[in-house]
């Protein structure tokens, strides 16, 4: 990892202002993604992974705001850029695809027009050229008969096709970073595999970095080279994705890996119970003191209840935030 990373997040804190007080919905979040790299952000609902992504593209809205920390895109601080400059980044250099392909497309506009609009908006093409490019973009995401499909409205397409269209829109301008927020959660498993494969191949061809956000550790490990696991607003472990599976270090990650059902295992055959992590994720307004995982952690000791652990660098590469990590 040399030179200026594509995106660098340093000690990011995201505040949630509920009118009477501010609480940190995410804090101490740091990571970097290099050009063409694939990076995964994994965690349960409400752990702060999606708002971290929104912060990256400068789209946090009230009651959320960036409390402190720095986000750099190619070395430039995103927060310092003017609104216009930020908008020029969005869709052009940083693109995003969403969980719900059903709702992320404008229902009253043909999909070809929605793709073409990206070329008009960011590349200054004429509509005539843009429409031509839209057909190519649809062909690139392996939509059959693209010259006919461009005239279709979103409701005429299946979920998988819609997500392909979303990918075509997101990759239209050849962005440097693609943020994929639960891109396949709403799809069938078979379609899911196709979409992931498509996304990965297209990004690899163009050297587009991927930031993938998901609750599905298996999926993320499959796509991404490195994975950060978030819990209650903090990154608890960041490793190469193979290492996370082979030798998870943080008790929470260990719990996650252990709770994945495996075909052929004793649990899957019904002989033993599937492992689970006891307890529930604490509410954002009542995070415990010290390590936020301590109420659910089997290894918790007194220090865990008073002092938040700092990041320990692991010998094998990566880091973990735990007083008693493996």
């Amino acid at each position: 990892m040399t030179g200026v990373p594509l995106i660098e997040v340093e000690d990011l804190r995201i505040d949630l202002d509920d009118g009477s007080r501010r609480v940190a919905a995410a804090e101490g979040v740091s990571f970097r993604i290099d050009r063409g790299e694939t990076f995964g952000l994994v965690g349960e609902s409400g752990c702060g992974k999606s708002i971290t992504a929104l912060a990256l593209i400068g789209l946090l809205r009230q009651p959320l705001s960036i409390g402190s920390g720095v986000i750099r895109f190619e070395g430039r601080e995103i927060q310092r850029l003017s609104t216009t400059k930020q908008r020029e980044l969005r869709g052009n250099r940083i693109a995003m695809i969403f969980q719900e392909p059903m709702t992320a497309l404008n229902p009253v506009s043909p999909v070809g027009r929605q793709i073409a609009e990206m070329f008009v908006l960011h590349k200054g093409k004429s509509w005539r050229e843009a429409n031509q490019l839209a057909v190519e973009a649809l062909a690139n995401v392996r939509v059959p008969a693209p010259e006919r499909r461009v005239k279709d409205y979103p409701h005429q397409l299946s979920g998988g096709m819609r997500q392909r269209v979303m990918i075509a829109i997101a990759l239209a301008c050849g962005p440097d970073l693609l943020i994929a927020d639960e891109p396949t959660t709403a799809l069938d498993v078979t379609v899911q595999a196709e979409i992931i494969e498509l996304m990965r191949n297209l990004c690899a061809e163009r050297g587009t970095a991927i930031l993938m956000i998901s609750h599905d550790l298996g999926l993320v490990a499959n796509v991404c080279r490195r994975v950060a696991v978030m819990y209650a607003g903090r990154i608890v472990e960041e490793r190469g994705s193979a290492d996370v599976f082979r030798a998870p270090s943080h008790p929470y990650t260990q719990g996650l890996v252990a709770s994945l059902p495996r075909l052929g295992s004793r649990a899957a055959l019904g002989r033993t119970r599937l492992k689970e992590i006891a307890g529930v994720v604490p509410a954002i307004t009542s995070f415990p003191d010290g390590c936020r995982f301590n109420p659910r952690c089997a290894r918790a000791t007194d220090i865990c209840r008073t002092t938040a652990p700092v990041a320990d660098l692991l010998e094998a590469g990566g880091l973990v935030r735990c007083h008693h990590h493996a």
Partner: protein, 273 residues
């Protein structure tokens, strides 16, 4: 698809009114203003005078036909002004929120609190009677419903996935409003628009009736009614035919509005596809 009676009857009546207005010079038997002949004053309806004649001997049929021009111009143009103002204010208020939303909300409530006809009267009093001031007066006083609808739609559409996606993809505010929000709220806006045209036709009649509309001797349905008021017992045809014209046009517009609402409703649209 089910036959939609109100849509068909409504658009037929509206189309008829527009056709009559457009073809007035060919449909009318006489010139509505100049062909006064006291020899024919107050003739009841007959083969020669389909709708009868007024106290100056002018052919009521020809005057009703020409009156369609004024009524429809006022109805369509003033409602267009209303729709543009209402959509611009409501859409931007709903999308941006904040202080602008408060301002627009206050303005809308003010407009709703003042009876629009009284407000239009006040504007007419300042501008003086005439077609242009009629258009301005009615165009500035009836946008509050459109504004409300546009604002409510913008509020709910703003949180839709595709609107957020557009933001993420680098669309500017104006582009989002025009390409993402506006097309998705057009259905209710059109419905409100047609209903508003009906009420604009009625308001024109009311203002002309009060002597603030189109200046005599040029005919408008409202001013004809106003002129006919004194003779309603002796020559009822003077008021019946312009009244009937107003009634049918407004009925047509209301039926059209209802019919459009049925087919433009996204729910029924998705049922069709």
């Amino acid at each position: 698809m089910k036959l939609r009676a109100n849509l068909i009857i409504g658009s037929a009546l509206f189309a008829l009114a527009i056709l009559v207005g457009l073809l007035a010079p060919w449909l009318a038997h006489t010139d509505p203003v100049l062909d006064a002949n006291l020899m024919n004053a107050e003739e009841p309806p007959s083969w020669a005078w389909w709708f009868g004649t007024d106290d100056q001997g002018r052919d009521i049929y020809s005057r009703v036909v020409y009156g369609a021009r004024v009524s429809l111009t006022v109805g369509i143009v003033s409602q267009l002004i209303n729709s543009v103002i209402g959509v611009a204010l409501g859409l931007s208020a709903g999308y941006w929120g904040g202080w602008w939303d408060d301002v627009v909300n206050g303005l809308t409530n003010l407009m709703l609190a003042i009876p629009s006809l009284i407000f239009a009267l006040a504007i007419m009093a300042v501008l003086g009677p005439g077609l242009t001031s009629l258009l301005i007066a009615l165009g500035l006083t009836n946008w509050s419903f459109t504004c409300r609808i546009a604002r409510a739609s913008a509020l709910s559409l703003r949180s839709q996935g595709y609107v957020q996606a557009a933001t993420v993809l680098g669309y500017g505010d104006l582009r989002i409003m025009i390409t993402q929000l506006l097309p998705n709220m057009l259905g209710p806006i059109i419905v409100i628009g047609t209903l508003g045209m009906g009420s604009a036709v009625l308001s024109e009649a009311a203002l002309s009736f009060l002597g603030l509309g189109v200046r005599p001797p040029f005919p408008s349905w409202g001013s004809m009614l106003s002129d006919a008021r004194d003779q309603i017992t002796t020559a009822p045809w003077l008021s019946v035919f312009p009244g009937l014209a107003i009634f049918l046009t407004v009925l047509g517009l209301n039926l059209l509005g209802d019919g459009l609402r049925d087919i433009l409703d996204p729910q029924s649209r998705s049922r069709r596809t």
